[in-house]
Symmetry: C2
Subunit: 337 residues, 2 copies
Amino acid sequence: MNKKLSINDIANELHVAKSTVSFILNGKAKEKRITDELAEKVLKFCEEKGYKPNQLAKSLSTGKTKMICLMVEKISDYFFSHIAFHLEALAYKNGYKIIYCSTENDPEKTRELINLLRARYVDGYIITPPVGIEAEIKGLINDNLPVVLFDRYLPNVSTDYVGLDNYKGTFDGVEYLVETHAKKIALVTLDSDQSQMTERHAGYIAALKKHRLKPVILKVPFANDTETNARQCIQFIKDNPGIDAIVFATNYLALSGIKAINELGLNIPGDISVIAFDDHDVFNIYNPSISAISQPLDEMAKQLFKTLLDKLENRVRLKDVSRIIIQPDLILRGSTK
Amino acid sequence: MNKKLSINDIANELHVAKSTVSFILNGKAKEKRITDELAEKVLKFCEEKGYKPNQLAKSLSTGKTKMICLMVEKISDYFFSHIAFHLEALAYKNGYKIIYCSTENDPEKTRELINLLRARYVDGYIITPPVGIEAEIKGLINDNLPVVLFDRYLPNVSTDYVGLDNYKGTFDGVEYLVETHAKKIALVTLDSDQSQMTERHAGYIAALKKHRLKPVILKVPFANDTETNARQCIQFIKDNPGIDAIVFATNYLALSGIKAINELGLNIPGDISVIAFDDHDVFNIYNPSISAISQPLDEMAKQLFKTLLDKLENRVRLKDVSRIIIQPDLILRGSTK
DNA sequence: CTGAAAGCGCTTACAG
DNA sequence: CTGAAAGCGCTTACAG
């Protein structure tokens, strides 16, 4: 239980002012015209003693905590936990720590979380916003806190955004299915107003229109469990005979849907081709392996962090808003012809 | 950009001393014999103004940050991201925030992470320790910081631990396979010294011994990717003709292994029964669905957090170490007879 | 080039 | 019952 060393202790032991120590430690020795000799001596002493400045004290006086908040829909989801992993590496490399929290798409919960994090004075926010949280996000922006939205945006909120070209994802997916001679291409999606979902829907509709095909759509409630989704898919397929391809708007919908198709005794891709939006590492080992519209996770995380860091380090003015749209990859596997 | 209210502002506006405000806000009004009237007035004022105490300042003077560090092997893994989700709910309910980080099983990286978090003065640690980090964990304990290990423990470190009865998991799994008349039961596991892996191995061996069967074991390197694991499984099954059941020591090994079995044209469970250690939500929708030795995630998270909280709130003395062993559930699905 | 001093926003003995 | 004051460990004008 060695007592923690403070900057005072160091100043005393070395008989210099603590301001001098502080300047040296923060790389302002040159600027403050402190002799190299002294700087060297102080640095060496700190090194030897294993001195680590108290971040709390530092934060209190600078107003910067070097912490960022990652607020996702649900940290245990495949997509979000992978984004979290990639962001972590980038954050730590740049001296930031990440506090995560899950909104579970509940605006009320999200509001509380934002309030809690504000009291912690985190420096910036990366958020997948639920609909209904516009005012709080604007509140953050008004207080000059950098906010980057991702995965989905809020039409009325002007702030940085990093997301996928969802429209192109489903559009290309459908076009590929058309090329393989599918005639009745269904979409199974969530009943959701979120931008990424409406974009996926729009891409599907547009591609069908281009090829003069008719939409066949199942929308399931967000809160459904896997089993319920499977049941609804079975009913949907029965109700719409002749479906020969299905685009699933999320990876978990695809897994339920495949279960449904299996239970109906239909063959993939013989009877029905399948494409899932958002890749998943089990898709590769599934039998048959599942074709997917993939979101480049590391690229997304990279852009997200860069966008936030540019604001945090004042390389970009707060008011200058960027929208980064990442292109999806259509990965063809065994579930399509 | 409304200026943040401080306790000083409140004291001034209400013409009371800031210590009084502080006492009231911290529920010490009674104790300090402050009139209900005054307390009421202050509370109401703070409520109206939306005053949120600055956590940084609070932390600096109390020495408590109300933050805990969750250090797992990899935040994007199914098991860890789900534990993270459950822990989050418990932490927030109790006023704590969580900083996560991934060790990637690298002692060097873990060492750095611990140092970084120490400079942040987090109040407690929940860690899945890589082998080789004993000294640093002891360092935390010596400085009276509560540490709860989970998933695996370090034999030489005496601290709280929450983990699964891994031995029982594989033991019961093997016994069930024996009951279904399997004669040549293989184990596919990681080449790892971690306690959870050696326990799973031991349970397998013990059950075989009891039934006078011979072990057939494949150990794959930790760093392998899915594809490589599948290749090695194929070779392993070819090299050991007559395997009629396989226990996989992790869920991802199971997924690779199933791919291998499929590629060999063997039927599950007709030719080979399969049990996976650690459930995964795709197991349920796989075809056939996969039997699993399941770790109760929410129970585990609950015990983990309770153990840590008991220490943080001084309900249990730091020196009193607990070991909580959670019982696995054997979930039988389509991949076993 | 260096030092004394104020300040960040809290908590908590201590005195009255 | 309440208030003035010191302290947590830093940063940063300011003076010399």
